[in-house]
Amino acid sequence: MNGAHDMGGMHGMGPIDTDPNDPLFHAEWERRAFAVTLALGFHGRWNIDTSRHARENRHPLDYLGSSYFELWFKAVEKLALDTGLMTADEVATGTPAALADTPPPNPERVAAILRKGVSAKLPDTVPPRFQVGARVLVREVTTPRHTRVPRYCRGRTGVIDRDHGVYVFPDTHAHGEGVKPQHCYSVRFTGQELWGDTAPARDAIYIDLWDDYLEPAP
């Protein structure tokens, strides 16, 4: 979706708070929202792409006006409701109507899950559509659904810098439509291609883009 989360290139957002001692959490509820988000994810009812879409899919005022962990909280609450992990009635009353089928992972199991991670890399069974060095044009992808191609590079031409291999395709994965295996590349764009002649001649932006976002440059 073309939402407020797609921020690359916006003006007017103000200065960066560069304080190196700014804490990671500013309140206890942020810690808990963070932990609850990870812990509920262990049930496997949604994937990272679904989760990202739940955070970004909101009115720009809501997105920009919410702190980061507020967005996490709003998203995990919605995901838990949408997937039936809990019901609106339970949230309203604070009382469980049903208990979990399977016990949640204990700390040891959690540590193992974190160490292992969930790679989005898939077996290399699909040929790449582009070779390193190829000039590619980023297709216009306008969709109200989840996508990972930023607006600021659409319609622009870059060069394949490296082929990361085959990865899960977020545009389908976020919506329960499978992983659609395809190559993901780091594509190099000059700053001037993206921002015009006033950009420094030596700047380049590298963006990770999937086969489905790209076509051969004319």
Binding site: G8, P104, V110
Partner: protein, 228 residues
């Protein structure tokens, strides 16, 4: 937070705020704090989450996993040319040699700063960040000012962090739009010849591995006072 400062929650953290009685005096909870608390209580009651696991998750990412991990990787690369080669060729495997693996670092890429190239990492679309080597991202990394301008005006952003990059140097910005996680290998500072890996790691701070600053220079030796 993603917007203005006044939209973030900068409540003082009362965890360790003990009064004369030895008990914490908490301010009234904000609406969001109440909602989070209520959700957690419900999920615990439903046995969907294990309270001990929640505590462990927080402890892991607040205290155990952090930039010190990345600093060890960088210091090794500075001192071991063979390790550096492996790190640039297959970052995931080379970083796993330290046992730094897993969530939000499953597939790593390391980009090297040189006298002619300066690298900078951002995630314009959300806040992708290499947790196993850097821990959780700082607030500014997740915020609108950084995410909007890192790709548009990287030199301006670097200047805001006090980092001056010459016009002769190519600035490369890496927008983490996919599941690759990027770590910057900073340049080894001058004056560090002969320093041990551990000492070198002390010079490698978080921001230098995101690419918004350089690694620290070693503290200058104290000038000896001349005897009167």
């Amino acid at each position: 937070m993603s917007g203005h400062d006044h939209h973030g929650d900068h409540d003082h953290d009362h965890d360790h705020d003990h009064g004369a009685s030895g008990h914490a005096h908490a301010a009234p909870a904000s609406p969001i704090a109440q909602r989070v608390k209520a959700l957690e209580a419900l999920l615990v009651a439903k046995k969907l989450v294990d309270p001990a696991s929640l505590d462990a998750l927080i402890d892991t990412y607040e205290h155990k996993v952090g930039p010190r991990n990345g600093a060890r990787v960088v210091a090794r690369a500075w001192t071991d040319p063979d390790y550096k080669r492996r790190l640039l060729e297959d970052a995931t495997a080379a970083i796993a040699e330290f046992g730094f693996t897993g969530r939000q670092g499953e597939d790593m890429v390391v980009v090297e700063n040189t006298p002619t190239v300066h690298n900078l990492v951002v995630c314009t679309l959300c806040s992708c960040y290499p947790w196993p080597v850097l821990g959780l991202p700082p607030v500014w990394y997740k915020s609108a000012p950084y995410r909007s301008r890192a790709v548009l005006d990287p030199r301006g952003v670097l200047a805001e962090f006090g980092t001056d990059v010459s016009d002769e140097v190519e600035v490369r910005v890496w927008d983490s739009t996919a599941e690759l996680r990027y770590l910057v290998l900073p340049e080894r500072p001058p004056g560090t010849e002969g320093m041990a890996e551990d000492e070198l790691a002390d010079l490698v701070n978080r921001d230098s591995m995101i690419g918004v600053t350089r690694a620290k220079s070693p503290a200058k030796p104290m000038a000896m006072e001349s005897t009167p």
